[in-house]
């Protein structure tokens, strides 16, 4: 995030990335405290949903749920229900049952504190089990895996949920103007910056790809190449149909109301184009990262997140 004079800025490390916020519209002390409460929400989600923390609730679920129903808190239940609905809406293209396969392909470190059998059972070149193999019992508040290969990795969804939750917190605290991002792969905008009709977001450093202006909207960005790359910063994306890494050159940027939904759809679009399945509420820009190949744009008329052509 470039220097923003007059803004209160905060940052934390969570979910394997750096969340940063720029806030405006109130006294520095009030903005600071509002930002801290919002980031506290993110830290609490990290503590429960980290796939790398041996003490997290998600680790516990991954360790036990293939054998029995595991009680989970209401918010974790909600995010798994959201993951399931997104898995269905994307025709299985967004799939968080990818944990074991990600390790099998070397995209995640080995994690011996979880069920060691999950990795062993996950073949390197087999379809992912899918959220259909994850049974959610709303009455009991439990989750159970119907396929022993399931290992949940909420990486493609949790950061977006964290941004949504932080945004709710900031709005509840009365912050009228804010931009939050999580590792640059997800962005949430509240209001607009002073004297502007939107927050200008560049999707690549070289200016080869259209930029976007956000106003009370969220942006999810995903790319096939590795973490810390020029676009996005999202990790490698597996194709759930094959269990193998998807195209390394493809990227997708999705604008919508929810950072979680935008993030998930961006992940899905990196695997394959889904124009007929994408909800009208989302704007999608997808293509190849070379900047030369024409990009695919879906529903670009949304004024809250209009894509602009790159300067030539």
């Amino acid at each position: 995030m470039t220097h923003l004079p007059g803004f209160e800025r905060l940052a934390i490390h969570a979910m394997g990335t750096r969340f940063e916020a720029a806030l405006s519209g109130a006294s520095p002390a009030d903005l600071r405290s509002a930002g801290e409460v919002a980031f506290q929400e993110i830290l609490e989600l990290h503590a429960r949903w980290s796939a790398f923390d041996p003490g997290s609730l998600l680790t516990r679920v991954n360790r036990l749920a293939a054998g029995r129903a595991v009680p989970i808190d209401g918010e974790t239940f909600e995010v798994l229900a959201l993951a399931r609905s997104l898995w269905e809406a994307t025709d299985g293209t967004f799939d968080p049952t990818t944990g074991a396969a990600m390790r099998t392909h070397g995209f995640r470190p080995s994690r011996p504190d979880t069920d060691p059998g999950a990795s062993a059972r996950a073949s390197a070149d087999a379809p992912l089990p899918g959220m259909g193999a994850v049974e959610l019992d709303p009455g009991a508040g439990t989750v159970r895996f119907l396929d022993p290969r399931v290992e949940l990795d909420l990486g493609a969804l949790a950061k977006g949920v964290a941004l949504d939750r932080a945004g709710e917190s900031l709005r509840e605290s009365g912050v009228p103007c804010a931009l939050i991002h999580g590792g640059t792969s997800g962005v949430l905008a509240i209001g607009t910056p002073p004297d502007s009709d939107g927050w200008p977001i560049a999707l690549d450093r070289e200016g080869r790809i259209p930029s976007v202006r956000l106003r009370d909207a969220a942006l999810g960005v995903s790319a096939g190449h590795g973490r810390g790359a020029a676009i996005g910063g999202g990790g490698h994306v597996l194709d759930p149909r094959t269990g193998r890494p998807g195209s390394v050159d493809r990227f997708a940027a999705v604008v919508g109301d929810s950072a979680a939904v935008a993030d998930a759809w961006a992940t899905a679009w990196v695997v394959r184009a889904l124009p007929s399945r994408t909800p009208e509420s989302l704007s999608v820009l997808a293509g190849l990262t070379d900047g030369e190949t024409p990009t695919e744009v879906t529903h670009r008329s949304d004024p809250r997140g209009a894509f602009s052509p790159p300067p030539r």
Binding site: A29, D30, R32, S33, A34, E36, V37, Q40, E44, A47, R48, P54, G55, L57, R60, P71, I72, D73, G74, E75, F77, E78, S110, R111, P112, D113, P116, G141, E172, S173, G174
Partner: protein, 421 residues
């Protein structure tokens, strides 16, 4: 290589480099048996209360049957975590509406603990009360008296929310500390650093004062009370010593927003053995986070929530087990990782993922409380120990606000109850 160079090399690798041993208990023994079905309730659903809810979800056999908070938005937030729990705006309503609740966890602001604890105990519930127990010694005595009465008349379990004594890695390190591995205790240091303003926003102005109780000098024990209490208890548990005096000061350096409660403090607590504890805390920096160090003639022990290490002096006697210990490099020093049952853990691959506890220390304190209820055993941290730690926090904050050296005397340590010590 010249003799001078040899001498420098020798100094760099001996006098300046201590052997560090990470002290980790046998992690395979930390898996607890599932509890008998038990229904608990949480009063106070702020950030710490929500953290408690997260840990409770990882304890088998436990149901959170009810939550209570006077703040509607916090109650709603807690309800998202535990939708199965009934929601109340007071402990009174909770006790009336949820008679199936067997225990109550009290995580309200410190100055509200006493009323909630007394009412929960009067209602026949087991109680876990966060520490410090209260913002005054008088209120802390009231809690101890209520706990003593409930224990005697109804066999209720009452625990203070100090996590060190239930922390397996601290317990393991304490065995080394008390086995003369450290030899003579020379000094102690405690650091608590976190970048946070302690200011809580409140869109509803009528809630602003209540939410910002930590910044109210009439209600807040400041950093010495809210954080120091835990460190002071750890030192007491390790050394069996209570301080003679506390002195120091505090300033508003990080957040000059009109507050008067210090955001940065430094204290010295002197003990009968001659050793002193230096306590530093700040809301303006997160560097070094939180730890305690015990410096001894033969070795020093460093405790850091989920981890513990022992740094041996070069001239300290070598123990036989050290030969089998795993070594790692920590900055300039070659350390020895000491893990009970290391061979088995290595075969399970558990050594690859760090050498600390898998859960937050809070988890073990809560689990210990429920085990105490289920098995009828004494809890790791009695309410009387909570009282002593609270007294240290109250007087340490007094030292900060007055700038005077405060002496502890027998009257301070007298909690008034005549039962369990």
């Amino acid at each position: 290589m010249s003799p001078e160079t040899d001498r420098r090399t020798f100094l760099a690798h001996s006098a300046g480099a201590l052997a560090a041993m990470a002290l980790v208990p046998d992690l395979s023994l930390l898996a607890r048996e599932p509890l008998a079905p038990h229904t608990t309730a949480l009063v106070g659903v702020g950030p710490w209360g929500r953290k408690i809810l997260g840990e409770l979800k990882k304890i088998d056999g436990l149901t959170v049957g009810a939550i209570a908070d006077v703040d509607p938005s916090r109650l709603r937030g807690g309800g998202k975590r535990v939708p199965e729990a009934k929601q109340y705006d007071s402990i009174t309503a909770l006790l009336e509406g949820s008679p199936e609740v067997e225990s109550v966890i009290v995580a309200t602001p410190t100055h509200l603990h006493r009323a909630v604890v007394e009412e929960a105990l009067a209602g026949g519930k087991h109680v876990y009360c966060e520490a410090p127990l209260a913002h005054t010694i008088e209120d802390a005595r009231g809690i101890v008296a209520a706990a003593a009465s409930a224990r005697e008349s109804g066999g209720r379990v009452v625990a203070a929310g100090l996590t060190a004594r239930a922390n397996p890695v601290y317990d393991h390190a304490r065995e080394f500390f008390r086995s003369d591995a450290v030899r003579k205790l020379l000094s102690m240091r405690s650091i608590s650093m976190k970048k946070t303003s302690w200011r809580i926003p409140s869109p509803d102005p009528s809630r602003a004062a209540a939410r910002n109780w930590r910044l109210d000098p009439e209600l807040s024990l400041g950093l010495p009370g809210e954080w120091g209490t835990h460190a002071f208890d750890t030192v007491h548990w390790y050394t069996d010593e209570l301080p003679l005096t506390v002195s120091g000061g505090g300033r508003v350096l990080a957040w000059p927003d009109g507050r008067t409660v210090a955001d940065t403090v430094d204290l010295t607590l002197r003990y009968p053995s001659g050793a002193a504890l230096q306590f530093e805390a700040s809301l303006g920096s997160s560097y070094e986070s939180s730890f305690e160090v015990f410096h001894g003639l033969n070795a020093s022990i460093r405790l850091a929530r989920t981890h513990a290490w022992m740094f041996k002096e070069a001239d300290a006697p070598t123990q036989g087990w050290e030969v089998y210990a795993t070594r790692e490099r920590i900055h300039r020093d070659e350390g020895i990782i000491l893990i009970a049952n290391a061979t088995q853990l290595a075969s399970q691959g558990k050594l690859k993922d760090g050498i600390g506890l898998p859960n937050d220390p809070l988890h073990y304190a809560l689990a210990d409380f429920f085990q105490g209820i289920g098995e009828g055993k004494e809890v790791a941290t009695s309410i009387e120990e909570g009282y002593r730690a609270t007294v240290m926090g109250v007087l340490a904050q007094r030292a900060v606000t007055t700038g005077e050296t405060i002496s502890f005397d027998a009257a301070h340590w007298d909690h008034g109850a005549t039962t369990q010590q």
